[in-house]
Amino acid sequence: MGLDVLFKIAGVGILISVFHIALKQAGKEDMAQICAIAGFAMVLLWVVQILGRLFNTMQDVFKLF
């Protein structure tokens, strides 16, 4: 896995914030909101996958269930 995902999340965060500012300055507050939510959902998908892997590893390590 490495640090790739962290850098990806940081990159997406920076770009989404630029999106948000550009759309807000253009008077499209609703689109800016939707864009921020879409970015959040995208990052959440990655994080959920990583968390799932973490829980599987914990199950294997501690022999749970």
Partner: protein, 173 residues
Amino acid sequence: MWLKLAGSVCVVAAGASIGFKLAMRLCERPRQIGQVISCLAALKSYINYVTMPLPEALKKCTGGMRGPVADFFHRTAQILEERGWVTPGEAIEEVLASSSGELALGRHEHEILCVLGANLGLVNREEQYKYIGMVEGQLRMIEQEAARLRDQNMKMYRYLGICGSLIIVILLI
């Protein structure tokens, strides 16, 4: 690695070019509306004071102007000269349909020009003069609105083009 880098550069270049193209079109719109207004002012004078035939007036009203707007008036004049049975309205509609890619005019301007064409050459000089004046006024209002939209959205399209392509690159890598 190099293949990924080359692909990423291509995606960013494509996204940025789309964004810049949209921004350019937005920037071009008020300029073209201004050109149409100045052509109509000249056309008004040619119709009312010089009583010039319509195809000739349409050719001369561009007054050395170049670009898609001048081409629009020239092509309309050409159609009217070549095919005598075509009405000015039909000629304008035909040229607008064929040059919609070059002209950065919106739906409102298209409608106004079509209505102008429908009334051109059908009524007497004074009525045409009044009608073109009214169309000029409408186009001035649209020009102001287009300039406001340009100031508001030009930067946004550029940012969205570049940042959108960067997000696609991040997602694909």
